[in-house]
Symmetry: D2
Subunit: 356 residues, 4 copies
Amino acid sequence: MGGSSFGTQFRLSTFGESHGVGVGVVVDGCPAGLPITVEEIQRDLDRRRVGQSRMSSARQEGDRVRLLSGTFEDITTGTPIAMLVENENARPGDYEAIKDLYRPGHADWTWDAKFGVRDWRGGGRASARETIGRVAAGAIARKLLATAGISVVGYTLQLMHLRAQVIDEAEIERNPMRCPDPQVAEEMVALVEQARRDLDSLGGIVEVRARGVPPGLGEPVFDKLDADLAKAMLSIPAVKGFEIGDGFAVANARGSTNNDEFIRRSDGTIGTVTNRAGGVLGGMSSGEEIVIRIAAKPPASIAQEQQTVNRTGEAAPIVVKGRHDPTVLPRLVPVAEAMMLLVLADHWLRQRGARL
Amino acid sequence: MGGSSFGTQFRLSTFGESHGVGVGVVVDGCPAGLPITVEEIQRDLDRRRVGQSRMSSARQEGDRVRLLSGTFEDITTGTPIAMLVENENARPGDYEAIKDLYRPGHADWTWDAKFGVRDWRGGGRASARETIGRVAAGAIARKLLATAGISVVGYTLQLMHLRAQVIDEAEIERNPMRCPDPQVAEEMVALVEQARRDLDSLGGIVEVRARGVPPGLGEPVFDKLDADLAKAMLSIPAVKGFEIGDGFAVANARGSTNNDEFIRRSDGTIGTVTNRAGGVLGGMSSGEEIVIRIAAKPPASIAQEQQTVNRTGEAAPIVVKGRHDPTVLPRLVPVAEAMMLLVLADHWLRQRGARL
Amino acid sequence: MGGSSFGTQFRLSTFGESHGVGVGVVVDGCPAGLPITVEEIQRDLDRRRVGQSRMSSARQEGDRVRLLSGTFEDITTGTPIAMLVENENARPGDYEAIKDLYRPGHADWTWDAKFGVRDWRGGGRASARETIGRVAAGAIARKLLATAGISVVGYTLQLMHLRAQVIDEAEIERNPMRCPDPQVAEEMVALVEQARRDLDSLGGIVEVRARGVPPGLGEPVFDKLDADLAKAMLSIPAVKGFEIGDGFAVANARGSTNNDEFIRRSDGTIGTVTNRAGGVLGGMSSGEEIVIRIAAKPPASIAQEQQTVNRTGEAAPIVVKGRHDPTVLPRLVPVAEAMMLLVLADHWLRQRGARL
Amino acid sequence: MGGSSFGTQFRLSTFGESHGVGVGVVVDGCPAGLPITVEEIQRDLDRRRVGQSRMSSARQEGDRVRLLSGTFEDITTGTPIAMLVENENARPGDYEAIKDLYRPGHADWTWDAKFGVRDWRGGGRASARETIGRVAAGAIARKLLATAGISVVGYTLQLMHLRAQVIDEAEIERNPMRCPDPQVAEEMVALVEQARRDLDSLGGIVEVRARGVPPGLGEPVFDKLDADLAKAMLSIPAVKGFEIGDGFAVANARGSTNNDEFIRRSDGTIGTVTNRAGGVLGGMSSGEEIVIRIAAKPPASIAQEQQTVNRTGEAAPIVVKGRHDPTVLPRLVPVAEAMMLLVLADHWLRQRGARL
């Protein structure tokens, strides 16, 4: 029950540690007949990669993915698709000094508590490098869902007190914060640079949207579409909250204003006038846009001194060296997109069994 | 892939519809040797039951649970524990009039979109009566976890703008709102009564805490403890948001103040000075109290007229009759507790396989 | 991980003990829109029931199934289908005398070794009554597969040295042995009656065939169609062997004679001239008839004295009283059919995800 | 639902095709703290490798395994253990000529029927090279079970009419047939050489035994230990039958002679006088030796002309060139051992959850 797999019909299993041979993923259950090239997968991986800008950490790696199985002549064959990204440029020496210290905000302590042993180099499997496998698998899910007209887009909605006032998706990839509001993006960049100088880190919010999702995806009880999205998002490192549609704002709403009324749309299909539900009703997609938000904590690795203990419980100061981002937001975007894509691909396949 | 099961080692499968024969659950994977009586299960069910006060709807049912299997002489035998609550007092006539209309905020439309057919009586399987099975299974999980010193408690933290200022757990079961702040509870009751007169409904927030959880529960990648809690909570009807620890507040926090520093506690164990993480680090329990919050939307069933369409898309006004709560919060509390208990029981068992 | 569930997309979970409240099953994943009545389910259960003839034991029960959920107006709704058969006519007194003794050939000892506690009344959950849930679920699978033109039939092929020389399916339900060869059936009946007089029991072989199975069902690696059939069959009490097609006879065959050559059939489809493979190639159905055989041991409960030990290891003679069959074969037939139906229904649904 | 995973708690997922980049496996759920080296894994792989003798085909490959993740300083860390063997010496040209023909006895036809597309080079994923991942995972299971005193050994029991008369395990690795009877082994070798000259292939039987298995492993209903063993064995290419203990011979046995009577052994533990059950009672291990047998068909690839059809159904003769074994038996032995090890490791871990 290692818990390194996700999904039921479109199912991925990631493996690998930050400073071992590499990180990778096996996708089982992708239908045969889908055209996919390694370049398409690499494209999504490149968006996740570190070192793209001053916003993210200085570790420079190619992160070139190798497609080990599951396609033939650039078509999926219905067999497991394994992908591997070998680690390069690993500097375990950065971690040697603190291998017996529990970094505040990190999983060093809980890892020891659980397993009694851990690969302390670069966080081992707790490293964000694990998400490479998710993004690679998400790229396949993206291609699969595109055949059904489903698309997913994510962006940085908020950094600390700075929140996008305009959602212009064309702007997202044009600024290092992946913020859809170019003016707020500039302010965010300045805030990040100041945080770097302060040896500190910053929290924020990412929003992800899915369009073209047909009504009826998701199972009505435990495997609700939004329940699976919540799990998917909370499984990403640093995420501490999830909401769909109006989310926590419903706590202060009345039924008379919170309910979305149904209408017949101009194309004859049934829809809702508003979309406070965020595209899911009773755990199943409504046909409206799916809108979710996740809260990401400020990265735990900061270059200023903190107090902690070592493995035997003795108090000790710690300074976490190495290459660290003052914010995870820009890199969180493609990972959050991937997780939504994976959930949708799974439920899109599951829906094939819903009716006689 | 019906999605009516939850958990991996401690696994429950619920069944049943609101106005069919009954609702129930099968729990598979409970260890042998646990003392449990039907009365202990009934006790938790009674907390969930409707009609306990003016706060909740008028449907009066005994909801007496029948233990069909899995125990012998009040001890679990390691075999599936099946439980059934037969439906009484069902009045499908309340629903006959609106069986072809899509109630705003309900799953009627998405259910039809998914399956093409549905039991429209009382919401069918989308009814909150489905949660009876969860609470019954949760009662067993509660008993199991008690053997390890783990306990769970939930309460109404917030109703609309009213938020508990004091957390006095002794007060929770003393007021109909299950609010730990007796003064705020009174204000909440007044607000609910006003909403009933307004033919409207109200949203709010429930908080759930777990104590005595040993460090190391949860799997580090997809099956993180908080990821499974998020799924568990979002699988409850009406829940639109989930957060753990400081939750969405981390969006406006810095690493220097958000990290919880480690200390050696007076009993020699390792802990953290603060608990902003809410008891989970890297997906595994830290040994600190687990604290989560969920946002519940105002119940969709309101007795005032709303606009909607019927199955063929024609516009029609709708008035939802029947017995409905202006708030789900007091009844949500035991359901949310149950879901946390079920997640913890599952991971507590999973942890048995973590080490050689 | 209680292991009381079977299947992935068409998934059943059985529960219940021989002398508890009852035995039952929950089927999750049956597509919505399938017409099914409780009478259709009862029909298959009646074939499994004891007391139909001198061939089987004297316990007379109605075994009336109650449909608790999952259908509405005799149509499946896509929600879990729960079914319950309450126990009647239970005589635990028959077992009181031997509750501390380990019956040879039974699971009393292994059950104690595993769980440390057991419901000793009538074998508890180890009783063949557990198969009631399988047959009830199988009846739904039968109805589902019929929509695709797939049918399954089983029969007693062999009892001790007596083996059917003719396979006349019209004869199967005409004799108490469910043997397709009426002449051999008579000899079998005489042998069973002699065994009853000898206070002994007899082994045999059941054969099951599936027709109309389209090519391509089954997954090519671990979840091969024949692998899942093997598991399904070995999960039935008393089964000690499984073979498909020529089965163990291939141990003495050459490739030149064992391979089935391909041809184009008169209807233009591709098939094989012979069917030594038994309808499965590389784990996937070939379109030819699926043919499997299972070996059933002589029932362990015999009325003559045997040597054994009690729970503390002390030697003691034992005489197993109660109502016992000298052969399980006629009642094994519908159970084996059910298991094949369940495997086929599952893989028929799984196939929906195989291709883009 | 690709079906390329096996096991519940000790779970492996294989990937890869015969003539792609490589074949591999990810093992999730191995407990932390197990010492294991890549050499130990290679040792089992070397036993499976082709080209060891005249008995097996001429393809010479190193099949060097690369350990990608999951261990640190030669100790398992509780994270997924990924392993990769890259393909060398692949000669797809051997297959180009027959890529549109359906080889008798092979899965070409069923693969096309299922997926509509396939990697025809060397059988693609249907190649026996897929079993490399099983053997690599089995090596870890072997190491894990050794910590509990459990061991597994397999051997060639029968080739055509030749059956070992003596079971001398010391002889197994001393002859190319892996037959425990050295005299019969010589006859087997002669028979294989004759078959090679005849351009034909031969069937046989492999027996596998497990010792030191504590009583109580296996789940009593669907996930019986023998049911999981049956699935495991039938999932191996070429296997057409499975039996445990006396197996098909029970069809001709009486209860009075087939039941194993219980005794207290000299060490005070409970056991049985005989072991006709093969070490499993009611789906759970009895503490006696587990003994199973599997029937393997003669390899389908023979160098003599056979009749078949192409993808469009036109009749065509076929001669299967390439490197093929006249018997799979010696190489089947380590694969069958691996599958038993994997089942036992899984149930050994599952047993940790059986009792309070």
